[in-house]
């Protein structure tokens, strides 16, 4: 069917509105990060910077600089925390999801897991804080890894289960008939087929952990464990607030998950549709 000129125009207009709506703030963030400080404080606002200033990026990547040290240690902590929590969540979620999907593990248990993420985090803060405090685990990366892994698990199990459900069960039966153990079947038959789902689950888990702010704010208090969201807040809470610095930290903090998403793009697209289309 051919579209008329008017229809085409409408379609492109809608696409443009959507693009401005979603990409606009990010674009403004990038512009802010390279604007002169005076451009950002003037009234009315200068949308287009009078001069490009990349000095903030240089400072953020310089360990000797104060803000550079804060940013780089937060980046390290974030990668360790989100990466570690995602790895643990996946290692536990895959066998768990398989037992829910194929071994008739009780659905009540799965719903109980899911119920835990329905509680607002604030309800957990106090008991968790006193528990970690008595164990001497406050302000440690490992603490956040534990908390995030627990937070990610229910969702990861659920997502993996939905994806394993749609895999053809005969293939696994064939492997069992051929004498393969469950572990062998899982490793050699199920995992290769579920790879897109695993990539999608890993990606989403990593993003959730990467963006988490509340637990990180409460459980960490210095450079040794603070993650990026908390560090960004710290930049904003200084005596003299330089919007440009906050913007450049924001841009830099977006890069790792963005790179990850691009690298896994092929997997994620097929992983997200795997549940809807059979085969």
């Amino acid at each position: 069917m051919r579209r008329s000129l008017l229809q085409s125009a409408l379609v492109y207009l809608c696409a443009l509105v959507l693009a401005v709506f979603t990409a606009g703030p990010l674009l403004w963030l990038a512009v802010m990060s390279v604007s002169m400080p005076t451009d950002l404080t003037e009234v009315p606002l200068h949308w287009i910077p009078s001069d490009l200033d990349f000095s903030r990026y240089g400072a953020l990547l310089d360990v000797a600089d104060g803000s550079g040290r804060r940013f780089l240690s937060a980046l390290r902590n974030s990668i360790l925390t989100a990466g570690g929590a995602t790895a643990i969540a996946l290692l536990v979620a895959i066998p768990a999801a398989y037992s829910f999907s194929r071994r008739k593990a009780s659905m009540v248990l799965l719903f109980a897991f899911l119920a835990t993420i329905m509680m607002p985090p604030i309800t957990y803060i106090l008991p968790l804080y006193s528990a970690f405090s008595s164990l001497g685990l406050l302000n440690k990366t490992i603490t956040l890894v534990i908390v995030y892994a627990a937070m990610l698990l229910p969702f990861a199990i659920w997502l993996m289960k939905a994806n394993i459900d749609v895999l053809p069960v005969e293939v696994e039966q064939a492997a069992l008939m051929e004498g393969a153990s469950t572990a062998f079947t899982l490793r050699k038959v199920v995992l290769p087929l579920a790879l897109p789902a695993i990539a999608a689950t890993a990606m989403l888990s990593f993003l959730v952990a990467w963006d988490e702010f509340f637990y990180a704010l409460i459980f960490t208090n210095d450079l040794s464990a603070k993650t990026l969201p908390v560090a960004i807040a710290d930049f904003a809470a200084g005596r003299v607030t330089d919007y440009g610095v906050i913007a450049s930290v924001g841009v830099m903090a977006t890069l790792p998950p963005a790179i990850l998403a691009i690298a896994f793009q092929k997997f994620i697209v097929s992983g997200l549709v795997a549940g809807s289309v059979k085969g």
Binding site: P168, V171, Q173, A175, L176, E178, P192, L193
Partner: protein
Amino acid sequence: MPENPILCIDKLQKTYGDAPILKDIAISMDPGEFLVLVGPSGCGKSTLLNCISGLTDISSGSITIAGRDRTHAEPADRDIAMVFQSYALFPNMSVERNIGFGLEVRKVPEPEKKSKVADVAKLLKIEHLLQRKPAELSGGQRQRVAMGRALVRDPELFLFDEPLSNLDAKLRVSMRTEIKRIHQTTGASIVYVTHDQIEAMTLATRIVVMKDGVIQQIGTPNEIYNRPVNAFVADFMGAPSMNLMKGTATRQADGIRLEIPAPQGSTIELTDHDTDPDRLPAGPAEVLIGLRPEAMTDRARADGRSVQVADCVLDVVEPAGADTYAVVHLGGTEAIVRLSADAPVAAGQMTPIAFDLSRISYFDVSSGTRL
């Protein structure tokens, strides 16, 4: 009961909740037999196969494979191999690894594995496909790979679950021949599930006809075809199926006199000299008279002493190349008669039809059981 059955199923029951799926199944199978489970969909034949494979637990009864009780054994411990309807190949592995999967699991040394896979590939004529992935194969080639995976381990028992139903009609016939050839060359013991009665007739050494979770009859294709135990088996097996005509049978000194109502109040009268009259109830009785289409033919093809001729009106004439089929209204049913291809017949014509009464079957009208 054979002396050393390869498979012995006794008093097997399977229920889902309150619904009985399989009722009192008893089968004994000799080594080297090709046993075909056949029946309409929902008759429980696939469930029975899954019970034998161990993929489904049974509710009661026992399963013995090669002399060992396997009632509650894991599928892997039953020394069986299965060919699935959907092929169930491992899409991430090459054909070679697919076939060798069972050997890989058992940690068979690489050279031995390679030579066994090569032997099976040669038997199935897929040597040139070993390095391909299943996605790069046609349906028939995938089917061969699935069979190769089963054959390579040389198990006690092979299970086939409707292996040809995903293939197109032409390929189905050639793969059917292929399966038969493999059975002949390897002498394997095979349990084969199908809903296609022609597959059952051509492949089986013995057929198990099932309906509603109950075994109707176990017998050689010849027994099933010529001496069906009830009207269901008579109707289900054979294409076109057996004509089941309502008629009256009266015992006489020289045989059984049959009266079959024909259109316009007329009646066809025949006398059966071959059947022992004692099998039928005394006095005139209404029975179902079963005759295969090839036992109702034009005179040119009929011979022998049991053949009697009666005139019938042909309602519809259907030439089918090698034969011409015609529909005749007899005994309250549309009976099919099988005429020679060049028979000079036309619809609406009164034609002499020869009834071969040596091949007659009688069934009870209400229960359908063979008399």
